[in-house]
């Protein structure tokens, strides 16, 4: 049952990802990305990491897709209908396949014996996050703040250049 679910979700994920990279329409690409990300949330669920699945749906499925769609709408130009890949795409395909050819055998060779998937309860996760990982947590919040301010600064229009 679990294997069947995993295969299904894997097919959805990879199909969505392929859709992102091959489709000609940018909005379709964003929707394919949404499918892929939702399937990844499903993968998290069968790994019993409910919290991460929740975060994935909220942040990726909600926030990031919305922001991407906003960007697509705001930068809509006449060139979107005929958007295309650039001239180096055969090279890119070779590089991607080469990376795949390295990664899959390395996963195969360095297999470790695994246990049944298990996950800590939320309280344990929170305890660890706010004790052992407290400093990285604060740094992450600082990174978010700086990114927000930087995004506003970059994207806003000054009065004199309108």
């Amino acid at each position: 049952m679990s294997w069947f679910l995993f295969i299904l979700l894997a097919v959805l994920t990879l199909g969505g990802a392929l859709g992102v990279v091959v489709t000609r329409n940018v909005v379709h690409a964003a929707l394919a990305l949404l499918v892929s990300l939702a399937a990844v949330a499903g993968v998290y669920l069968i790994l019993f990491t409910e919290f991460l699945a929740l975060v994935q749906v909220l942040i990726y499925g909600g926030a990031i897709i919305i922001v991407l769609l906003f960007a697509i709408m705001l930068t809509r130009t006449a060139e979107y209908p005929r958007i295309s890949d650039n001239r180096q795409w055969p090279l890119a395909a070779v590089a991607a396949l080469g990376l795949l050819g390295v990664l899959i055998p390395s996963f195969w060779i360095r297999r470790v014996e695994d246990t049944e998937p298990q996950s800590p309860v939320f309280t344990e996760l929170a305890n660890s996050l706010f004790t052992r990982w407290a400093i990285p947590f604060e740094v992450a919040s600082l990174v978010l703040l700086v990114a927000l301010i930087g995004a506003i600064l970059i994207a806003r229009t000054r009065r004199d250049e309108r």
């Binding site: 998290y44 990491t49 890949d85």
Partner: protein
């Protein structure tokens, strides 16, 4: 396996696409591949002593945080680019080319 496939597709997307927005999407795909790997490791190697507790999950949370920040900044830059040059095609953004 899934992670490797997703990462490879993301890499292809970064290298082959013309639109900057699509490149950002491909970067998201690669980050997700890494996250799947981290969480699978955290979930499957819990009792074997090779992986401390569930650190993989926490690192994945940080990856998601940084990804959100990165998308915000990237889209701000793309908007700026679009306003100044009225294109989002990375082949035409050659202002900083040597």
């Amino acid at each position: 396996m899934l992670s490797a496939g997703l990462f490879a597709i993301g890499l292809y997307g970064v290298l082959a696409r013309r639109s900057a927005v699509l490149i950002v999407m491909s970067i998201e795909l690669m980050l997700n591949a890494v996250n799947i790997n981290l969480i699978a490791a955290a979930s499957h190697l819990n009792g074997t002593g090779k992986f401390v507790h569930f650190d993989g999950q926490i690192i994945a949370i940080f990856v998601i945080t940084v990804a959100a920040a990165e998308v915000g900044l990237a889209l701000a830059i793309i908007l700026r680019m679009h306003r100044n040059r009225s294109t989002v095609n990375v082949d035409e953004i050659d202002l900083m080319r040597w």
